[in-house]
Amino acid sequence: TQLLEQSPQFLSIQEGENLTVYCNSSSVFSSLQWYRQEPGEGPVLLVTVVTGGEVKKLKRLTFQFGDARKDSSLHITAAQPGDTGLYLCAGADYNNNDMRFGAGTRLTVKP
């Protein structure tokens, strides 16, 4: 079973700052998803990336899939308090299609 490692575990920044969070593994993924979860709610899908080197943008959020499809990053520009939440990555193993989740990065954006 592949292990998805997310870093940092916790991140606290001021409104307006930029940040990047990472999702890494030694395994190859056929696809990778990013979710955001707010307290007391279920995770909400933000994006899916499937092609090595792929970059997707969602307003101030930029998602990148590594060339080897083993890692991904999420960059937020000019963070806002509404970006606060737990960011989870999940990957489908290339060999057996098992979907696994990372432990998440808890982001706090202070006004």
């Binding site: 056929s30 279920g42 995770p43 999940a90 979907m99 989740f101 990372g102």
Partner: protein
């Protein structure tokens, strides 16, 4: 469009009591269904998944069981709750195992 429902939203149960959490999906047929537990706002632990009616796979040995009596209904049960069963339980569905999962609103279970 597809929607996923979970109930109850919150539950407080004494140790040793039974448990039944229900999840239903609308707007899709033959979904893959999943039960996760999340402790302290951290990562998701996959408990069970189902690819069809009556087909249940368990990821970890535990005090819980799951059933899928209908195509779009997934139930999480326990005969006797333990303190360690407390947590946030999430149901999810996907088109197939390698595709995106869509989550319900969750159930907060506190075992006292």
């Amino acid at each position: 469009s597809q929607t996923i429902h979970q109930w109850p939203a919150t539950l407080v149960q004494p140790v040793g009591s039974p448990l039944s959490l229900e999840c239903t999906v609308e707007g899709t047929s033959n979904p893959n269904l999943y039960w996760y537990r999340q402790a302290a706002g951290r990562g998701l632990q996959l408990l069970f998944y189902s690819v069809g009616i009556g087909q249940i796979s368990s990821e970890v040995p535990q005090n819980l069981s799951a059933s899928r009596p209908q195509d779009r209904q997934f139930i999480l049960s326990s005969k006797k709750l333990l303190l360690s069963d407390s947590g946030f339980y999430l149901c999810a569905w996907s088109v197939d195992r390698e595709y995106e999962q869509y989550f319900g609103p969750g159930t907060r279970l506190t075992v006292t």
